[in-house]
């Protein structure tokens, strides 16, 4: 896998920002900046070793990662669920490794959206409640965007989001577990994007989908990510999906530990 585009971030997808936060930074300020990060699990070998990696605002990147190169660990570092032993992970110039755990949870709710391979929703909650819950966590700490979080506008936003994702409106009251996998994954995007995150992290979202659903899902994902101005980190082992991206990188190019070879990776 070649490293087509480097950290300069010359991708054409940057759009004028609607987010007031973005106006505080110049075009070159990164959405994600990883510096000298080293991570290993307790008494395990080093899994992540990244000198420097950055992602600009609204930039989309495809990270190619076969299983066993520290992919999930890296995403958990990006989202602040794990913290590295050394180095720093900054999202929008905020060093999340330095935040208190509770602040970090709140920061994640407000600035980072994550879509997993599967199990993205609380199964016993309705689609509406799942998305509402995500909004609740984002509003928990700071009251950013509190003005447009009135319940009526909330509902409207959720509906328009679901419409953009081509989901039937009548599914809003249904339990997440009653939806098809393809629908669940689209609801997951809605849930991840509802708080207008600055970074959207997507991990193998299509592995449970068939070929046609996969293509439709990718289109919807890229479009909604673009329209919400979020930087997108898309991780997959499926190279056929790379065609949707301009910036494509191999995970073991940026992760020095992974370069040693996947077979040495004990935990993914």
């Amino acid at each position: 896998m070649s490293n087509l585009l480097n950290e300069a971030g010359a991708d054409g997808s940057t759009q004028p920002s609607k987010n007031p936060v973005n106006t505080l930074f110049n075009e070159q300020s990164p959405a994600v900046l990883v510096e000298s990060v080293v991570f290993s699990y307790v008494s395990g070998k080093r899994i992540i070793d990244i000198k420097k990696w950055r992602l600009n605002k609204s930039e989309h990147v495809f990270l190619y990662g076969p299983s066993g190169c520290g992919k999930s660990t890296l995403l958990n570092l990006f989202s602040g669920i794990l913290t590295p032993q050394q180095g720093s992970v900054s999202i929008l110039n905020t060093d999340i490794t330095g935040l208190k755990p509770s602040k970090r949870d709140c920061f994640r709710a407000q600035h980072i959206g994550v879509v997993f391979q599967q199990f993205n929703l609380v199964p016993y909650l309705s689609v509406l409640d799942n998305i509402r819950l995500a909004m609740h966590f984002a509003n928990d700490g700071a009251d950013k965007q509190s003005t447009d979080k009135k319940s009526t506008t909330k509902q409207e936003r959720i509906i328009s989001m679901l419409q953009a994702l081509q989901l039937p409106i009548d599914c809003i009251q249904r339990k997440a577990s009653e939806l098809s996998v393809g629908q669940q994954q689209r609801v997951a995007i809605a849930r991840a994007l509802i708080n207008k995150p600055d970074v959207l992290i997507v991990d193998e979202p299509t592995s449970a989908l068939d070929a046609s659903a996969k293509d439709a899902f990718m289109k919807v994902l890229i479009e909604t990510a673009k329209s919400s101005n979020a930087a997108l980190i898309f991780v997959s082992h499926d190279q056929s999906l790379a065609s949707h991206f301009k910036r494509i990188e191999a995970l073991f190019d940026i992760n020095d530990s992974a370069a040693l070879g996947p077979e040495l990776d004990s935990k993914v």
Partner: protein, 446 residues
């Protein structure tokens, strides 16, 4: 929001939640009703007699004396002579006295021979006086009963306790026949002694309700047997007559009972026990010692409150066993609740990771599980209170009729709230096991 999540989560696990809920409901109901009955029993127990400073009887144990004089259970074989009675009440410290003559029954209800002082001075509950539903006190005996004035026409007055009147279905003005001895079946019917119901007491929730109160002189006269004629006694024992027949023969019979005059009908020879009210409570111990050390007759004086306390300690052992059993049942069901949550934790791993990625703090997961446990427990407590209240409400009449138990329907006392509080705290503590498990897995999530 967390409330809604907890609610949906519980609904999602309907069956196991329902079973856990039912287990808790049963144990909380058990605990609440045992506590309630215990409290009610203790209350009504201590309410049985109040305002009485001393109870005096022939020498016996204090519980024996209390049981026979207040609860009309068992009988003291020995009596106090009339002379001793007079001597003790002559003590300047004594304010009033209620003589009691016990050991007789009428159709299974204890007959208490006493004076109008009984209605004047006896107190129960919070120093409440006896009052009448209908009718009034004895009319044919002097209020100052120590010198008896007897109706010579052989009619005696009787005042019934509320339960006795209700169950025997007697009205004021009705004439009844008294029997001698305790028990429903009595072998010696004193058919010649007719009693007229002159009053029915208000319900008190104490043994007074089961009492049939007659004048001391009346009891004395039905006991007065001819020493000279054993045959007469035998005859009167075997005579079984209805009230009507008795009335017809009333006059003739009485003529034959001239022994009453021999015995000096106006003068009782003995009493079973008597209650004393003193002018000053400070004198209680002093008078008690004087009575206990009486040189002329072996007597016992007891302080009702002290004796009640001792008796309750005897009875109390049983209620403690009940309490321990119900607490054990509760702990078992709480452990069941904890197990249910713990077992669900594995299937909830994915859910917890979703919550975390949405930005939930580990504490959210912790409180989610606690909330689920606590709402099951709280639900069980509320339904248990409703259930127990309903049961008491529906069974109150039956309990009263069958056991003379009157339970207050209002079980929501401070005490019950304490029990519920303890249940919730216990739930919290036991639910810490799964909650901390969930918290840990939320923290260690990778």
């Amino acid at each position: 929001m967390i409330l809604n999540v907890a609610k949906q989560s519980l609904l999602h696990r309907k069956v196991s939640v329902l079973l856990t809920f039912l287990a808790l409901l049963v144990s909380v109901s058990l605990l609440v009703s045992i506590e309630h009955i215990r409290k009610e029993a203790k209350n009504s127990f201590y309410r049985t007699v109040s305002g009485v400073d001393l109870i005096v009887g022939a020498r016996t144990g204090q519980i024996n004396l209390l049981l026979s004089s207040v609860f009309r259970v068992g009988a003291n074989a020995n009596s106090v002579s009339w002379q001793s009675y007079q001597r003790i009440i002559a003590n300047p410290q004594v304010d009033w006295a209620i003589p009691l003559s016990l050991g007789d029954s009428h159709k299974g209800f204890a007959v208490i021979g006493t004076t109008n002082d009984y209605f004047e001075h006896y107190r129960y509950g919070d120093k409440r006086k006896l009052s009448f539903q209908t009718g009034g006190r004895f009319t044919n005996s002097d209020v100052n009963e120590h010198k008896q004035v007897t109706s010579m026409n052989n009619h005696f007055d009787v005042v019934l306790g509320a339960d006795a009147a209700k169950q025997l279905n007697y009205q004021v003005g009705e004439q009844i026949i008294m029997s001698h001895g305790v028990g429903k079946v009595s072998f010696s019917h004193h058919a010649e002694h007719l009693f007229t119901v002159v009053g029915i007491l208000q319900f008190t929730g104490t043994p007074v309700d089961q009492g049939v109160h007659a004048g001391l002189n009346a009891i004395e006269s039905i006991h007065a047997q001819p020493k000279t004629s054993l045959a007469k006694k035998n005859r009167s024992q075997t005579s079984l007559r209805t009230s009507k027949q008795a009335q017809d023969h009333n006059h003739d019979e009485h003529d034959e009972h001239d022994e009453h005059d021999e015995y000096g009908l106006a003068q009782p020879t003995q009493v079973s026990a008597f209650m004393l009210g003193l002018k000053s409570r400070i004198a209680v111990l002093q008078v008690q010692r004087q009575v206990n050390q009486d040189k002329l007759e072996p007597l016992s004086a007891i302080i009702p409150g002290v004796a009640l306390g001792e008796l309750w300690r005897l009875v109390g052992a049983v209620e403690n066993v009940l309490r321990i059993i119900s607490a054990a049942v509760l702990i078992a069901s709480l452990l069941g609740l904890s197990t249910m949550l713990l077992a669900s934790l594995r299937e909830r791993k994915a859910e917890i990771s979703v919550l975390r990625i949405m930005g939930a703090k580990p504490s959210f997961v912790f409180w989610l599980l606690q909330l689920e446990a606590l709402s099951i427990a709280l639900g069980a407590c509320v339904i248990a209170v409703v259930l127990v209240t309903g049961t008491i409400f529906l069974s109150n009449d039956w309990l009263l009729a069958e056991y003379g138990l009157s339970l207050s329907v209002n079980i929501l006392s401070i005490h019950t709230l304490w029990v519920i509080g303890a249940v919730l705290i216990a739930t919290f503590v036991i639910a810490l096991i799964p909650s901390i498990g969930a918290y840990r897995s939320a923290r260690a999530l990778a």
